[in-house]
């Protein structure tokens, strides 16, 4: 065999190995969608990848069993609000920490770093009482406030700070010469230049809020207020056993749109996570 043939053989073996390794990552999605169309008996009968009988009514029953459309909307609007708030707050604080000199900055940084190390599970009990005292249990406020101001928001602040640190100073100086206030410099010069960091924070924050589970579980009790992950785990019959086919149909409806967005913007999404992971 020539050198080139060995190379090709080697590559082929590698690709086959990777394809096998990919099975547990891809197959659950394929099976989920397929089973979402099946009857319960077919799910637990002899394995089929393409349903013998397509039960489209599963996807109708998902919406009649509980207010699924409402729950879908809840997840969507909460994720959008959390993302917008996090962007505003983290880019303001990140800018000040990177670009402005002020007394207490060092201490503030130390505080924020310590917040990064403490998971929200530790503070969830007092936060529950705090929200109850505010009268916000079974509202969406805790799901907006806690992710925005919790460890996740702090991480967003650091990400913004790192990015602002690397921006060239000259443009800012020019802006100040032109008579812009600090706020003006932030809004008109720094933010437009920080677009990649803003995109990364948006993507990560949106997904974080969309997939949040502990907080909805603790704070929400009425079906109309549920968010998607909570709704998904709620497809049970009166004995507490899962309604298998409905649950899988609902899970498909919740996951597939995100997967489609991911396929379109996969490069951007993966890069955002790489950026935040290394810096966080």
């Amino acid at each position: 065999m020539t050198q080139r043939q060995i190379q090709i053989l080697y590559r082929t073996c590698w690709t086959i190995a990777l394809l096998i390794a990919a099975i547990p990552f891809v197959f659950p999605f394929v099976w989920m969608v397929s089973a979402g169309f099946k009857s319960v008996t077919e799910i637990f009968g002899a394995p089929t990848l393409i349903p013998r009988v397509w039960r489209w009514q599963n996807f109708v029953e998902v919406f009649t069993y509980q207010p699924f459309a409402r729950q879908y909307f809840n997840s969507l609007y909460i994720a959008i609000v959390v993302t917008a708030l996090t962007l505003a707050i983290s880019s303001l604080a990140g800018y000040a920490l990177a670009r402005m000199r002020f007394a207490g900055a060092g201490l503030l940084m130390l505080f924020l770093i310590s917040a990064l190390m403490v998971p929200e599970e530790v503070t969830i009990i007092p936060n529950f009482f705090l929200m109850r005292w505010f009268g916000l249990v079974d509202t969406h406020w805790p799901l907006i406030l806690l992710p925005t101001f919790g460890p996740h928001g702090v991480m967003a602040t650091f990400l913004m700070r790192q990015y602002f640190l690397a921006l060239p100073k000259e443009l800012e100086e020019a802006g100040k010469m032109d008579g812009l206030s600090r706020f003006g410099v932030w809004w008109k010069i720094a933010l437009p230049m920080a677009r990649p960091a803003l995109a990364a924070v948006s993507i990560i924050t949106f997904l974080f809020s969309w997939n949040l589970f502990l907080e909805p579980l603790i704070f929400l009790s009425s079906l109309d207020m549920f968010t998607l992950p909570l709704a998904l785990s709620n497809f049970n019959d009166s004995y507490g056993l899962p309604l298998w086919n409905l649950q899988l149909a609902a899970t498909s409806l919740a996951v597939v749109p995100i997967l489609i967005v991911y396929l379109i913007a996969q490069r951007q999404i993966i890069e955002s996570f790489a950026l935040s992971g290394v810096k966080g």
């Binding site: 190390m117 403490v118 705090l130 996969q266």
Partner: protein, 307 residues
């Protein structure tokens, strides 16, 4: 800077001071939403949880009584559940962290250089990361059903009778670990790929010219240069494994026979199912200390390594 100096020359010392004051006020205005949120939703609750942990407080009894360290004594010395939970959490971490990191590194090494299909594979291995843990756990729970579950049906085709995965304590723990690795490994893979791509190609080429084998290049060049990334990944993954909650909640609910009852789930159970606020807060404090200790140990190891 230039304009402040300019102004101070023009208008004198007094204005220069007020300018500095103004800059400081503006800065605090910028950080105030973050800072106030931090005080209300983090520092306040953290102080509260320290206090709660020293009270005997069942939500139903309304009144919290101060009991000092009795909750910690109860957890560490009296309640056998606690050590079971700690054991489970440690088993989970010991199972998950090395498996996750080894697989992540292997995938990153395979996917760090461009070749036909590389984007496809990166996309595939990363997809579970953006999927909600609940959705992922729901699907795997069905695949792993004892009777009629897909995996056991496939095993039956080759004549193996699979166990009832999620109903037998040891298999259940293995199942949650492995499915969790599939869920999270993509993130570590991406971090490793980013680190690998930051290594200058010249190092490797120089070594190859010197006649180094692939294995030597990896152990003498790549692996040492990856050390900082490896440490960061180790910290993130270990902390993540001690926090695992939604995955366990959906797949096993802590069962069977408390075989997958881990710390975060136990805190939730004590606090929000049984309303033992004092005890749950003590558990939260223990979790806090464990995570701080882990982080500090790993940071110290890093400092030692870089000396």
């Amino acid at each position: 800077m230039a304009d402040t100096v300019h102004n101070s020359i023009r208008t004198g010392q007094k204005t220069w001071l007020t300018l500095k004051m103004r800059e400081m006020m503006e800065a605090w205005l910028f950080v105030s939403p973050t800072f106030i949120g931090f005080l209300i939703f983090f520092l306040g609750p953290l102080c509260a949880v320290v206090y709660y942990s020293m009270t005997e407080w069942n939500l139903l009894s309304q009144q919290a009584t101060f009991v000092g360290l009795a909750n910690f004594q109860n957890a560490l010395l009296e309640n056998p559940d606690f050590w079971l939970v700690v054991r489970n959490s440690v088993v989970f971490a010991i199972g998950l962290v090395p498996l996750n990191m080894a697989l992540a590194l292997a995938l990153a090494l395979a996917l760090s250089r461009p070749f036909f299909g590389v984007v496809f594979f990166r996309t595939v291995f990363f997809a579970p990361v953006i999927t909600s843990a609940i959705a992922w756990a729901i699907v795997w729970k069905f695949l792993l059903q004892g009777e009629g579950g897909f995996i056991n049906q496939v095993l039956a085709l080759v004549g193996i009778t699979g166990p009832n995965w999620l109903r037998e304590p040891n298999w259940a723990m293995a199942a949650v670990i492995v499915t969790r690795v599939f869920k999270m490994v993509g993130l570590n893979m991406i971090l490793y790929i980013a680190a690998l791509q930051a290594i200058p190609r010249d190092y490797e080429e120089a070594a190859r010219l010197e006649g180094a084998s692939r294995r030597q290049i990896f152990s003498m060049i790549t692996w040492p240069l990856l050390a900082p990334t490896t440490l960061v990944i180790m910290v993130i993954t270990t902390i993540g494994s001690f926090k695992v909650f939604d995955h366990i909640y959906q797949m096993t609910g802590g069962g069977p026979e408390n075989g997958t009852l881990v710390l975060a789930f136990y805190i939730y159970q004590q606090g929000f199912k049984f309303f033992n606020v004092g005890y749950a807060s003590a558990l939260a404090m223990i979790m806090f200390v464990m995570i701080m200790a882990l982080t500090l140990v790993q940071v110290m190891l890093r400092r030692k390594g870089s000396e």
